[in-house]
Amino acid sequence: MTAIVKHRLFWPAVVLVLLLVSNVFFAPRFFTITLQDGHLYGSLIDVLRSATPLALVALGMTMVIATGGIDLSVGSVMAISGAVACLFIGDLSNQGSVGGVLLAVGLALVLALVAGLWNGVLVSVIGIQPIIATLILMVAGRGIAQLLTGGQIINVSSPPFRVIGAGYALAIPVSVIIVAVVVAAAVLLIRRSALGVLVEAVGASPTASRLAGIRARGLTIGAYVFAAVCAGIAGLIFSSNVASADSNAAGNLIELDAILAVVIGGTALTGGRFSIAGSVLGAVLISALDITTYTIGVPAETTLLFKAVVVVILCLSQSAAFRAAVFRRRRTPAVTPAAEVPA
């Protein structure tokens, strides 16, 4: 029992369950899942579906944060990937051709990969702080996306493209299946090989890992590329779901939500140990929070306040200094550095 309570995902899971249960008082049919025309419908499915872009972005962000970095450009990469795909599909003579859509998807993902390569090279080869290196693409990327679309919202009517974000396979939303496959592949690749341990080593101490003979440079670039490709897929899901490319709305502020999801999942921002399951849980939690505010009828703005409170609580609980100050005997500021008295 204590093992369950001590598990680092225990409290996020409890919050998620509480959030979901609280919906029942306002929407009695919240937990009902119905099968209509071979599709699953219900609020729980909505929670999962709306969590998909965030879960992907958070998955990529987890790897970047594990190396001790951060990626602010994910929202812009989402916008670029959606813009490229819709632009390409819009130019097709037959928007319904599966081959053309696959080509568009491939093109978008290759561009996302290039974006990740750019971030990774700036961080690990040129040696720029991650916040700033990815800030460049965050600012410029949305401009590039708007340049591609000419500042317009590009609408597409391509049935194969719609499948990615809004389709169903075996009664399950395709976007949920995509996320499940990507997460499973990532877990297999990262946790079943030495890759995860190497990334944790780089994040925990770059110097020690270099002395141990780990090629930090390649791993770091790989993490940023992975994050960008995940963001690219998320951008495709987003734009497919609304059947258009909106360079302003796609992935707006998602970098902050993704960082929040990662932190909720128990990955420390200082790098090192990470939890993929935790980040996915964090993304579902944030999505559930958004949906809950809708069902309860609270103005959607309060989610921002709630997120602020969650960030503060989580950060304080992760802060060793805070724990020392609160849980030790109430001796006043044990955390104040001794040398703080000016000489």
Partner: protein, 337 residues
């Protein structure tokens, strides 16, 4: 202007040519920004009619006075090696609170100090969390951003017009130097802030401590400098200046809106970086930040004059400039090691 640039010189005696080379290297980013600014202005004058009007240049100040104030606060934070993501949200909160209270009939003389106090308190709180609980500045100010933006949305999600006589008089007041040549009172306030900030950074013990923390916080602590107090103070200053920037923005817009100043934290950071302040802290000048704000403002002006360029070019150009200046910073800092 040389006063503004005066750095805290290390108290070592060195031979004249050596000292000269050292000083030059430290000035490279600022000089590069100055050259860029001159080039952009020259291009503008050469290509567009009426670009050489004095008022075009003054309008850059008029339209960016609030950004100048906010970026000045950000400069203090970045000089210590920190970052403040909450500035845009604090600006928005300030405009919303001011507009709401003024519409409820509160006197301007009460509202003004109150909103400044709110911003300062938020900054103080974030600084305290960062220092006492060793939370990363990025995360602590991210929480502050959510909090301030959430509060302002909670107060009112719509744009609130301001009709208070003091506010409208501040908005319309023009200081004229001649026919058609004027600045707004906001510009005067912004310039006073910049001069005061530059003086504090260059000539006071507090300013030296700011540079020392950015250079190496551990060394500063071992030297007996008041690291904690100073670190909290820079976030407090940033909070205060964000609130002041919010007041200036509400003068400029004559409205309070929770979606004002979205992404302003990015503009402020970009201005500071383009102005040659090293992001790891410890090196740079407030004068550089002023140049950075002017570069951003001039990009907007040129795009307006061009007419055929769309607004997203601003973002792309700012991104390219950010990249160029960060790489330049790397080169400068690497050579000095």
């Amino acid at each position: 202007m040389t006063d503004v640039k005066a750095p805290p010189q290390p108290a070592v005696t060195v031979t004249a040519p050596h000292k000269r080379r050292r000083a030059d290297r430290r000035h490279i980013p600022v000089l590069a920004t100055l050259a860029l600014l001159a080039l952009m202005y020259g291009l503008g004058v050469a290509n567009y009619d009426n670009f050489s009007d004095t008022q075009v240049l003054l309008n850059v100040f008029v339209d960016n006075a609030f950004l100048l104030v906010v970026a000045a606060g950000m400069t203090f934070v970045i000089l210590t090696g920190g970052i403040d993501l909450s500035v845009g949200a604090v600006v928005a909160l300030t405009t919303v609170v001011a507009a709401t209270l003024l519409n409820d009939g509160w006197p301007a003389a009460l509202v003004l100090p109150l909103v400044l106090l709110i911003g300062t308190t938020l900054g103080l709180g974030m600084g305290a969390v960062i220092h006492y609980f060793k939370v990363e500045p990025f995360i602590a100010t991210l929480a502050g951003m959510f909090l301030a933006r959430g509060l302002s949305l909670l107060i009112n999600r719509n744009s609130i017009p301001i009709t208070d006589p003091f506010w409208t008089s501040m908005a319309q007041e023009r200081i004229r130097f001649g026919p058609g040549i004027f600045i707004s009172t906001s510009v005067v306030i912004a310039l006073v802030v910049v001069l005061a900030g530059a003086f504090v950074l260059a000539y006071t013990r507090f300013g030296r401590t700011v540079y020392a923390i950015g250079g190496n916080a551990d060394s500063a602590l071992l030297m007996g400098l008041p690291v904690g107090r100073t670190r909290i103070a820079v976030y407090t200053i940033s909070g205060f200046l964000s609130a002041l920037g919010g007041v200036l923005l509400s003068f400029y817009m004559l409205s309070g809106y929770s979606l004002h100043a979205q992404g302003m934290e990015l503009d402020a950071i970009a201005a500071v970086v383009i102005g040659g302040v090293i992001l790891t802290g410890g090196s740079g000048y407030l004068f550089g930040t002023v140049l950075g704000v002017l570069v951003l403002g001039l990009i907007q002006t040129i795009i307006t004059f061009q007419g055929t360029l769309s607004s997203w070019w601003t973002r792309i150009v700012v991104g390219i400039l950010l990249f160029a200046f960060i790489v330049l910073q790397r080169l400068v800092t690497r050579r000095s090691r």
